[in-house]
Structure formats: structure tokens, C-alpha cells
């Protein structure tokens, strides 16, 4: 499944030429997803806003290092992830939280996890309870539907690690939501 941004025509080429309108369009597209990603990782509004600002400034400065225009989204999130790590009190917690290997079958996409209105608050709470490394992978998967390879690139981890983190994160989240449902019933 292509990532969310792959379906859009992003004015990356114009931004390379220094067109402010192109930058404005790009930032408008990504400001909220990046803020959500940063806030949900760091659990701090101010830090979330700082990450957004630092990410935008770094993107303007280093756009020349982007090789493929259609990877702009994952490239921008990679910068945001680095900024989050810099903001985090325990960066190692975000980067190096190893989990066992996941089974090969990983076929359920984000659309299969649909949440009822009454479950929304519980979903947000349960998401916050996951370890930061799992949360990061899950957020990238939910927000932009990045491929596993792109998530690995963004989080600077191995593909197998991303696979296992995503598997266990989804499993844990589903389990927590089901337990909530049973308690409510």
C-alpha cells in the first residue's frame, strides 16, 4: 500500500528552487502529523511545537540532501524523529528498545484497526501506555502509512526490528482495547 503522501503531488522541486509558496504548502501538509508524532512521543506540548519548528528549519537547510522527491515525507519525519530524540530525557529509550522477532505474517493494515467513537479516549490513553519505541513505529504507521522500510529509515533501526515492534505494538494495543471493552460490558 503506498504511503499517504505518495498519492499527493508535493511541490518538492519548487521548494528546491527556494519557492516560499512551495515550502508553505509542504509545511501546511505536514505540520499537524509531525506535531502529533512529536507530542505523542514526548508527551509535552511545548516540546512538540519545538520539534515542529526545528524540523522545518532543518528541512529548509538540508533539502539538498534529499535524493528522491517522493520520499520527502519520510525524510521530514526522520528529521522530526532525530529532534524528538534530542528533546527526550532518555534518548536511549526511544532508540534502543529491543523486542523479540515477530512472526512473518504482518498483513493487517492500519485500516483494519477501526475505533468506535466511545473508544477514542481509551485508544489515546492506551497508545500513551506503549513503550516509546513501539509508539514511534505505530504512529508512523498510523499517521502516514509508511512502508516498513521507510519506518526503519525514519527510526534508524533494522527492518526486522521495525517489523517486530509494529507486530507487538498492534497486538498490545488491540489487547488493551479488548480488555477495556470487556470491562465496559
Amino acid at each position: 500500500m503506498p504511503e499517504v503522501s505518495a498519492l499527493e503531488q508535493l511541490p518538492v522541486a519548487q521548494a528546491r528552487a527556494g519557492d516560499p509558496a512551495a515550502w508553505n504548502a509542504l509545511f501546511r501538509r505536514y505540520q499537524l502529523p509531525i506535531y502529533v508524532f512529536a507530542f505523542e512521543l514526548l508527551r509535552d506540548e511545548q516540546a512538540g511545537r519545538d520539534v515542529v519548528q526545528d524540523t522545518f528549519l532543518a528541512a529548509v537547510r538540508h533539502l539538498a540532501s534529499l535524493r528522491e522527491d517522493d520520499k520527502f515525507g519520510s525524510w521530514l519525519f526522520a528529521i522530526a524523529h532525530q529532534k524528538c530524540v534530542q528533546h527526550a530525557r532518555k534518548p536511549a529509550e526511544i532508540l534502543f528498545d529491543e523486542v523479540p522477532e515477530a512472526p512473518d505474517a504482518l498483513d493487517d493494515g492500519p485500516d483494519e484497526l477501526l475505533i468506535r467513537r466511545e473508544q477514542e479516549a481509551a485508544f489515546m490513553n492506551r497508545l500513551a501506555q506503549l513503550p516509546p519505541s513501539h509508539r514511534a513505529v505505530l504512529l508512523l504507521h498510523f499517521l502516514e502509512d509508511f512502508s516498513l522500510a521507510d519506518i526503519a529509515r525514519v527510526t534508524e533501526t533494522r527492518l526486522g526490528t521495525v517489523k517486530s515492534r509494529l507486530y507487538y505494538a498492534k497486538k498490545a494495543l488491540r489487547k488493551l482495547l479488548e480488555a477495556d471493552n470487556e470491562n465496559a460490558a
Binding site: 499517504v4 527556494g18 516560499p20 515550502w23 508553505n24 509545511f27 501546511r28 505540520q31 499537524l32 502529523p33 506535531y35 502529533v36 507530542f39 505523542e40 506540548e45 512538540g48 511545537r49 515542529v52 519548528q53 522545518f56 528549519l57 529548509v60 539538498a64 540532501s65 535524493r67 492500519p110 485500516d111 484497526l113 477501526l114 475505533i115 468506535r116 467513537r117 477514542e120 485508544f123 489515546m124 504512529l139 498510523f142 499517521l143 502509512d145
Partner: protein, 144 residues
């Protein structure tokens, strides 16, 4: 029913005005005309980009290949060093004559000279000249 993406974005939509302000600030900074001295910074940045271009174009895309090549070279160097003949290094060290060797050499030279003198053949041992002498000389001998 909502997707997690919809829930996450909806949950934080209240932050949009602040994010808009951040975006405007960054974009306005971009559209502001560059100050007089900025051309130098731009030039330096362009030069840096030019210098790092080969690194990005040649090395980074094939970094595994380059690393493997470097590893092979290191391996070859290690093998070469480990298989170097230890005798040659010893002879190399002894190439410069030590004081003991000097005296030994001097002794050898003296012995050689001595032996050369002894080995020199005496007059009686020298091969005789068998060529016939002139007749005139024969007569002188007879007179004597």
C-alpha cells in the same frame, strides 16, 4: 468508526493555530531578501555541496561495496604482515657489524694473510722453465 489517523489528527487539531504561526515564521524567514553578506554564506554552501557531491553520489550509494573493498585491503595487509619472513628481519638487524663481529672479521683477515704467506710456493716448488736456453749461455756454463 474512525481510523487511528483520523482520531490522532482530530485530537490535536486545537494546536493548528500555533503550528500555523510557526509555519508562517519559517516561510517569512525564507521569503525575506538575503542580507548583503549572505552571498558569501551561499557561496560557501554551494562549494560544500560541490565538494560533498562525489561523496554522496559515489560513496554513499555503494557504501557496502566500498566497506567490503576496504575490509579486503585490510585483510590483505594483515596477511602480508603475518607472512613476512622473520629471518630477513633478523639479518636486516645484523647487517650492521657489531664490535664482536668486527674483531672476528679482523681476526679472519689476519688468518687469511697468514695462510696466504704460508701457502705461497717456495722457489724449489716453482715450475721449471723447460724452454731451451740459447747456446751461448750453454757455453758460459761449461767454462764455469
Amino acid at each position: 468508526m474512525k481510523t487511528p489517523r483520523e482520531i490522532l489528527l482530530a485530537r490535536h487539531r486545537a494546536a493548528a493555530p500555533q503550528l500555523d504561526a510557526i509555519r508562517h515564521a519559517v516561510v517569512n524567514d525564507l521569503s525575506r531578501p538575503t542580507p548583503g553578506g549572505a552571498w558569501l554564506a551561499n557561496l560557501v554552501a554551494a562549494c560544500l555541496r560541490l565538494l560533498t557531491a562525489p561523496w554522496r553520489e559515489l560513496v554513499l550509494p555503494a557504501r557496502r561495496t566500498w566497506t567490503a573493498l576496504a575490509a579486503v585491503w585490510v585483510l590483505l595487509l594483515v596477511i602480508n604482515l603475518s607472512q613476512r619472513d622473520p629471518v630477513s628481519s633478523v639479518t636486516g638487524r645484523l647487517a650492521r657489524p657489531q664490535p664482536v663481529m668486527m674483531s672476528w672479521q679482523a681476526q679472519q683477515r689476519w688468518l687469511n694473510e697468514l695462510l696466504t704467506d704460508r701457502a705461497a710456493p717456495a722457489d724449489t716448488d716453482r715450475p721449471r722453465n723447460t724452454a731451451p736456453r740459447p747456446r751461448t749461455e750453454n757455453g758460459e756454463t761449461a767454462l764455469v
